[in-house]
């Protein structure tokens, strides 16, 4: 690690700040493959937990690859990465709250459709 750092310092600045094209081509190919797989989930009409877990798995993998390599977060300093990623926990909380909410709404709709409201 020490040696490579020294070599990069002596290089021109613009060369030190780019990555080899291979990494982009690899991520690009992976994104195509993962998209193909997630399309196959629909093609073969997987249902239930298998469908949802596969969809989420491919989705997070694709999102992670795009953010880490295409958006360069993998190479950024933690000060930036953490400012960007921690607010996502607020979204996770919101999803959790609204999931509880829609179950209650559905329950009360079905309940009052059967029992009848007002009276």
């Amino acid at each position: 690690m020490e040696n490579t750092n020294n070599i990069e310092k002596t290089d021109k600045k613009e060369e030190a700040s780019t990555h080899k094209i291979g990494i982009y081509l690899w991520i690009w190919t992976l994104l195509f493959v993962l998209s193909f797989f997630s399309y196959m989930v629909d093609w073969y009409q997987f249902q239930g937990m298998l469908r949802w877990s596969l969809i989420l798995f491919f989705m997070f993998l694709k999102a992670g690859l795009i953010m880490a390599f295409f958006m360069h977060l993998f190479w950024e300093r933690y000060a930036l990465v953490n400012v960007l990623l921690w607010p996502m926990t607020a979204i996770a909380c919101f999803i959790f709250l609204m999931a509880a909410e829609f179950q209650y709404t559905l329950f009360s709709r079905l309940f009052y459709f059967v029992v009848g409201g007002g009276a």
Binding site: N5, E8, K9, K13, E14, E15, A16, S17, T18, I21, Y24, L25, I27, W28, L31, F32, S35, S38, Y39, V41, D42, W43, R51, W52, I55, L56, F58, M59, K62, A63, I66, M67, F69, F70, M71, H72, W75, E76, R77, Y78, A79, L80, N82, V83, L84, P87, M88, I91, F94, I95, M98, A99, E101, F102, Q103, T105, L106, R109, L110, F113
Partner: protein, 236 residues
């Protein structure tokens, strides 16, 4: 993305580095162009907007006792007389990922000051985005012909239309804005604005190829949002 070097300040890696960067009584994002930091913060706020749309879609879909329209039938397309599920959506995904890849490589060539390659790849990205918007316009008009409205549709739960038009419309709007800026920056790169040191956007400072990375962040974000829309709206 580079390793910044600041005189008189030791840049530590990892969480220790985060603590010392934040407490340094200087700029917090070391080696990050101000425009790039602003773009990231804009994208963070945009993430919240799209999250609210998708969460309201989850709430709407989950709370209706009426059957939700089956996306793989609603979005099926006839190819050689056979209905193929989600064909158009798969093609749109393909086009958007292709343009995301060309963008990533355009950023790389931009930093290497390879003006021609950067320009051509930006143009390819812009054309990919334009194709995407065209396919989306086709998809919208097809569904509108089939009677899908924000308040009703012939396939199932009435909420389907409003979520569909709102979410894909807002995403398509982002793509359209991105395409406009991609064409502008294709011109700027081919015209050699960064070699001549012309001023950048919203500033009197000289423009630089870092602007291509900032544009790239926006474009990859559009692709990122599509990953989530594809998963939750079309596949779920």
């Amino acid at each position: 993305m580079s390793e910044p070097k600041i005189d008189g300040f030791e840049l530590k890696p990892g969480f220790k580095g985060m603590a010392s960067d934040t407490a340094s009584d200087q700029t917090m994002f070391k080696g990050v162009h101000w425009g790039k930091a602003m773009m990231w913060i804009f994208l963070l706020s945009d993430t919240f907007v799209f999250s609210c749309f998708l969460i309201s879609y989850m709430k709407g879909r989950g709370s209706t006792p009426v059957e939700w329209p089956n996306p793989s039938e609603v979005f099926a397309l006839e190819a050689f007389g056979v209905p193929v599920p989600l064909l158009l959506i798969a093609l749109m995904t393909f086009v958007l990922i292709t343009s995301s890849g060309t963008m990533a490589i355009a950023v790389k060539y931009g930093y290497e000051k390879n003006r021609k390659m950067c320009g051509w790849l930006l143009l390819a990205t812009a054309l990919g985005g334009l194709t995407f918007v065209g396919m989306q316009a086709y998809e919208w008009s097809k569904l509108i012909h089939e009677g899908v409205r924000p308040w009703a549709n012939p396939f199932g739960a009435a909420q389907f239309g409003s979520f569909f038009f709102m979410i894909t419309g807002f995403h398509g709007f982002h793509v359209s804005i991105g395409v406009i800026f991609l064409f502008i920056y294709t011109y700027k790169v081919f015209a050699g604005h960064y070699e001549k040191g012309k001023k950048g956007w919203f500033t009197k400072l000289k423009g630089d190829y870092v602007e291509i990375e900032i544009l790239g962040l926006y474009w990859h974000f559009v692709d990122l949002v599509w990953v989530f829309i594809f998963a939750f709206f079309y596949l779920w």
